[in-house]
Subunit: 300 residues, 5 copies
Amino acid sequence: MKYNIPADVPKNKEETYKKNLKSATNSTNHLMLFAGDQKVEHLNNDFYGKGIPPQDNSPEHMFKIASQAKIGVFATQFGLISRYGRDYKNIPYLVKLNSKTNLVPYDKQDPYSKAWLSVGDVVAFAKTSKLDIKGVGYTLYLGGAYEHEMLSQAASIVHEAHKNGLLAVLWIYPKGKFVKNEHDGHLIAGAAGVGAALGADFIKLKVPYDKKGEFDAQALKEVTMAAGRSGVLCEGGAKVQEKAFLEELYAQIHTSGSRGNGTGRNIHQRPLKEAVKMANAIYAITCEGATVKEALKLLK
Amino acid sequence: MKYNIPADVPKNKEETYKKNLKSATNSTNHLMLFAGDQKVEHLNNDFYGKGIPPQDNSPEHMFKIASQAKIGVFATQFGLISRYGRDYKNIPYLVKLNSKTNLVPYDKQDPYSKAWLSVGDVVAFAKTSKLDIKGVGYTLYLGGAYEHEMLSQAASIVHEAHKNGLLAVLWIYPKGKFVKNEHDGHLIAGAAGVGAALGADFIKLKVPYDKKGEFDAQALKEVTMAAGRSGVLCEGGAKVQEKAFLEELYAQIHTSGSRGNGTGRNIHQRPLKEAVKMANAIYAITCEGATVKEALKLLK
Amino acid sequence: MKYNIPADVPKNKEETYKKNLKSATNSTNHLMLFAGDQKVEHLNNDFYGKGIPPQDNSPEHMFKIASQAKIGVFATQFGLISRYGRDYKNIPYLVKLNSKTNLVPYDKQDPYSKAWLSVGDVVAFAKTSKLDIKGVGYTLYLGGAYEHEMLSQAASIVHEAHKNGLLAVLWIYPKGKFVKNEHDGHLIAGAAGVGAALGADFIKLKVPYDKKGEFDAQALKEVTMAAGRSGVLCEGGAKVQEKAFLEELYAQIHTSGSRGNGTGRNIHQRPLKEAVKMANAIYAITCEGATVKEALKLLK
Amino acid sequence: MKYNIPADVPKNKEETYKKNLKSATNSTNHLMLFAGDQKVEHLNNDFYGKGIPPQDNSPEHMFKIASQAKIGVFATQFGLISRYGRDYKNIPYLVKLNSKTNLVPYDKQDPYSKAWLSVGDVVAFAKTSKLDIKGVGYTLYLGGAYEHEMLSQAASIVHEAHKNGLLAVLWIYPKGKFVKNEHDGHLIAGAAGVGAALGADFIKLKVPYDKKGEFDAQALKEVTMAAGRSGVLCEGGAKVQEKAFLEELYAQIHTSGSRGNGTGRNIHQRPLKEAVKMANAIYAITCEGATVKEALKLLK
Amino acid sequence: MKYNIPADVPKNKEETYKKNLKSATNSTNHLMLFAGDQKVEHLNNDFYGKGIPPQDNSPEHMFKIASQAKIGVFATQFGLISRYGRDYKNIPYLVKLNSKTNLVPYDKQDPYSKAWLSVGDVVAFAKTSKLDIKGVGYTLYLGGAYEHEMLSQAASIVHEAHKNGLLAVLWIYPKGKFVKNEHDGHLIAGAAGVGAALGADFIKLKVPYDKKGEFDAQALKEVTMAAGRSGVLCEGGAKVQEKAFLEELYAQIHTSGSRGNGTGRNIHQRPLKEAVKMANAIYAITCEGATVKEALKLLK
């Protein structure tokens, strides 16, 4: 398999970058990202309440899943990694560098999510802690008063990551009062192009919907092509029924050319064993070439 | 007892960190924080007026208490420590790095409390002054226009503290016009999760209330679990009757899993001797395994 | 031919600067800039939709054109260059340092496009990647709340570029609610003067229109003279018919004294072969002294 | 006399600090600060007009007074010191690091007065110019949108001053639309506590008024106690009759525990000889233990 | 002649400073500043249109004048100097460090003109380019939301200039909705005092008008005295008849104590020969002790 190593990965970091990319993608160039940054992004809504198993309230639940399941990377904040990392050394981590809470509605105040720490901090931490950190992540909101700050931070983070042989994943969401429909495929394709222009390795995006509000595989094709050599990861979103989830995932990859997914709630809002199985099923489709049928067997 | 040393504490600072944690918590992992940052936060309201003993008006009152009572740490601003520290060398200090006044209502202007000095300043100061500085503190308001700045500063302060073997305590309060009820347990659990994601050692939070406006021990359970390995400190709040205070404190720890408390007014708004006794009673429950009955005896 | 080497190009970078200028302009001092920054500036509008060939949706389309056609420089974002550069080493690149999306209307929020990376980043990248990077570009909006930031960044970018022997191209557009007519020649001449005061090598500007909304060659004379020793590049704009495009380009240069053009959509919104021919025709007029007739032959 | 040397004055700067404190206070711990920053704060209102002697219009007038009278320190901006310092080497200077004009009313725009230069600039300047610079000053407005910036700058300036053995004087004024009465003693006591928390050596404050708008000696007691080990300097304010001025000054110190005063207009709005006498009288009460009667004799 | 060398000019730069001051003022301490920053400040309005000779549209026109006429310094932006400097090495330059356009009215948005480059950049440039750079200039608007930034930048620029032996000229203008009359002498005297407090060598100010809107020589006396040891330069303003211009200039200096002038349009809005003569006449009055009559002869 040929890997697209960005030109800003220096000679002496090419092997590191390739190793990170290969191990995170099971040598498929597809990434199964287990998203665990919602403790800040959604406060406690995703972790406690009706239909959520009690153990999900503890951050350790996600570490247990990430440690026992097959995943590409577990994306979460630096602080959680610092508190649980010593006990979960086998997890492939991706440090989510920024996060914001959901307290203020997007139409009341333009969102700004600033990087908490630098890529340099992460690189030094990886070295001293010996944890397996494969990359960094950053969320970028387009269309508001802070777009310029976030574009600038994102570009710098991607470049710094590459200079250190790390993967860079961008979450890109157009937001604010001038964005009418966040699931408009053409708009999401625009966001994909921004991610490409920023040089991201992977771009986590909303899923395009058709007029009935259902997944639009054709529209996703525009998106994945517009992303160029940056891989599109479809957002997992709120928890849905397993089969529907896996079928859509399969179509995203095989029909529309997406290169993975970023899933959180559909995994961690289950008891540990079920969560591990669901993660494995997602991984099977994303990185092991499984059919939906094969993946569903893993849930049994 | 097993201590959770964060992974960002480097090898050569592990002993320092462990020593700070053990001595601050009496080897219980519970922290009794004597909060003395109100000279800025509440201006002179907490120190002069009806029902407050005259000597509380002088900042030295708090240093005397902190010096004579059993406490985990005395949290106050750098400037006060610099002016009284030479005469109160036996106090275990925690430098509160930021503070704001109460002149502007939270619903009129989104709060922003910026760090006054850096962790590096504190580390250098501890070295040259030989004062016993065990950690740093920072207040973080969620939900306003400056949330991004404060999240970023908080993450950096926690990380810098750990790199130097210091404890990091975060005060986390959702505030502003989009926060309807600051004592909503689910919201406070969200704040606890933010503190966990930031990697804090301890998180000082509001106490959850039930519909009658009284302490809700069940709701606090959601909070302490959501905080993961970061210890929840319940805010002491305005001065109340001693027995009620100690009973609630006991329940917070033994029923709900909190790991300490941050108390200011309920201690320093008393004449010196009474204040020292009250601090000792709080310490007994928090860090010496005392019952309420045993603690009440100390007040005699 | 005599070249105007800016006085802030140091002695030991004069040869580099001259080489960059000569090769980018075919020793004519005229620049044919192939503009490829629209993936961010216009999101996916310029790359997918009615009248646009399907392959234009992939960023690679522009790299293929830039690689096969005669051009002065291909201006695009760093991230795209980092992802495709290893496979397109023969392209003369100009790194567009800033970009913003079109989500927010100019009259709703004053535009601010911040530099994504520094000139130093570009210089280091050129060295390690061995790509042929001839210069940097920056867009500057005059007339809004962020004018001061952008003027300051622009001045610094031009100076840093010169210190490293690189060309500096500024895109300068008066914008916002106090700008009534962006195609007013006198206003554009003002923008040209700003570019001159910033020391730019080339300034990309809107084309002046007369009262009927058509190209005003006389007004452009005011503009090119006001620009002093900085060369004026006329914006290509939306796709129009080939002959009209080339005739206007010829007049801009030969009647009005412009020193080139910045063209994107009129090139890349065509299938590869046609796009290469169109680029070659533009190049012929701009940098090879061709007549419109001669250039039109190249389109056959 | 025992001096309170702040704990952030390092060992090797203790002598410098003590020397500055002793000489500025005539070994009394009381400071007579000749305030000369009004050229910016009040523009030319304090220096030219009815009842003001013509020579006051020249900045040199203040240097002559400061040079010929007994004073603790002459507080003025760096630029004036740089222009007159070579000719007035005997003056003990305090560099006022920030200033703002009075053009915008406090209720129309929250005030922000930013440091013009750093403490490091002052330290280097003192060394190369050999001028007798004893300290630095900074004005801090509480209660507005920039409170966080000014608190942070103030804390840093006090700490940097101490690290270099210099005195740090803070002017602290609650301001803006949420401050109803700037002469409310309880509010001023709050400001005093903020100064203490910032570690200031001296804090210049408004004078508390009673309900009739007259000096309230009792209220000032709350203030001076709240200030802890930071000395309170009462603002001189607009020019009043000499005897009344000196009597109030005496009461501030002897009844209410203030530790000096900051006087500008009541000194410099007089012809040179009278101004020198008035300064000497103020100094006599503040730093030489004189009675009002004794001080009045100096005015003859 | 005695020169006032600011105390922040270090020993080893005193000769450089004195040389710059003497040559810029013809050893008179009076400065004739040829102002050429309007390409940004007024866009193309001052350079093209009715009553303006066509050659003024090219920036080179000003360089030709500055090269052929007697002037103190030619003040213009760095970028123009970088593009023309190699061909005009005999000009004494003053680098105008900031500029803003006139697109937004002062009462719609508080003005902010940020420094484009640092004094360090200018010093390095002077060294490598060997151009004769005698100083730097900076415009400062008082009375708006960015006053604090500009005061801080101005103070730092003056100090950095002095540390390098360069002259520092400040343009100081009260502006915004709280400034009713920009030609009020008392207000201008306030601006002069601000310039003095900033340590400027020269301060360019508006001319005070009387109630009839005519030059008020008495009011200017208040201004020049308030400026202390900083020299007042009167703004040249819009083009007027030669004799009236020179008579007012003579009165400004000989009646009111101004120390020069800053003239742009009254010079460059003439054909080259006439412009050179006018500059020479202004120089004769400012720096050669000429009478109006003698100066008028130079215009023949």
